[in-house]
């Protein structure tokens, strides 16, 4: 759990904050329409770019927030947990995750959102996710070597590219704005085509 604004021993108060942030996150996902499996699958087929827009917006918002709060001395970035990288197991897991996401149309977070909004496919995906967790735990002795393979430590772009963090922030913002403009132009053209997307 990462609670960069709270004391290290926040305990129950920390869990309360986590619950509040989680509910807000779920509400945001539902409001953005990401509880809808068709919309999520549409991203992979190039017919709906809501996922790209919502998630890239979230990345840029959080990144600018963390960067500027850190610059102002309000947030200590050293207390923001950076997950460690294991190249091979994460590539394998990512591929498996992608297949599941296209097939089910939901990811773990959005499946909870869809279930909370009363969609039965959300419940089905949550069931599959729990079954997958149990299967993983049961099969762990067989795959523990893969699980521990190719450790690369915590990687961040400023460290990897040896540039100041601000440069990476500016580059990601430019990428996001470029992607938004490109996707909107694509959607306008698609809408103009006979029988194109609405």
């Amino acid at each position: 759990m990462t609670l960069p604004f709270l004391a290290s021993d926040a305990g129950a108060a920390g869990l309360g904050v986590a619950l509040a942030v989680g509910v807000a996150f779920g509400w945001g996902l539902e409001r953005a329409g990401l509880g809808n499996a068709r919309r999520l699958a549409g991203q992979f087929f190039g017919t709906d770019f809501t996922v790209l827009k919502v998630l890239f917006s979230a990345i840029v918002t959080a990144m600018l927030g963390v960067f500027w709060l850190a610059q102002m001395g309000i947030l200590d970035p050293a207390r923001v947990y950076v997950p460690e990288t294991w190249l091979l197991p994460q590539a394998v897991g990512g591929a498996l995750f992608g297949v599941g996401m296209v097939a089910g149309g939901l990811c773990p977070g959005t499946s909870c959102v869809a279930a909370a909004a009363g969609r039965r496919d959300g419940l089905a995906v949550m069931g599959g996710m729990l079954a997958g967790i149990l299967l993983f735990a049961a099969a762990f002795p067989l795959i523990d070597q893969l699980y521990e393979a190719t450790p690369a430590g915590t990687l961040t772009f400023p460290d990897l590219l040896r540039v100041p963090p601000g440069t990476v922030v500016a580059a990601v913002v430019a990428m996001a704005l470029g992607a938004f403009a490109g996707v909107e132009a694509f959607e306008r053209r698609a809408a103009l085509r006979p029988g194109g997307a609405s």
């Binding site: 850190a70 610059q71 915590t154």
Partner: protein
Amino acid sequence: MSGRAPRAHRLLAIAAATLGALALVAGGAGATRQGVDVVALAREVEAEADHVTARELAAWIRDGREGLRIVDVRTPAEFADYAIPTAENLSLTALTRAAIRPDETVVLYSEGGAHAAQGWFLLRARGVKRVYFLREGLYEWLTQVMTPVLPDGASAADRAAFDSAAELSRYFGGVPRAGGGASVDGDASAALPGASAEGGSAAAVRRVRRRGC
């Protein structure tokens, strides 16, 4: 989509572009590292997770541990005089700028232990994860690895520990001793390569001891 939405989008895009462009100007080197989680570091020190023993380090070198990087933070003259095998020499200032890959394990040592411990903090503050130091420095290496001693009247457990230490010591050309100073392998100065010369490890032990570490 209402007519106002694109306008709101444009304003948000302009705000993001402005904050991003300012970040380019503001983001000095190491800005994300400006905060050091001193509580976490203090816990590592209390948990004794900040150092390795000389014998652990010796075993790592012998076993060819992947990504092991040993850094001697003493002066170049002291380094040239005697150093732990495979070590490189970097000053503390150079250490703060050294490129360290995430898969590397850094072990720092100095004459005693103070400078290496300070180097440990500098690297941890830089965000390097796998850093250790020799708590008693080169002195510990010389006494525990190069010239381990089995005291008189040692128990069977002591003797077993000494046997593995002696084996490790011989790998590095050291001289294990059993009891009142007699070398297990015969005369120390004869067995140690270059021991009679001022640059040998036996001489280095004497010098370090004289300084009262």
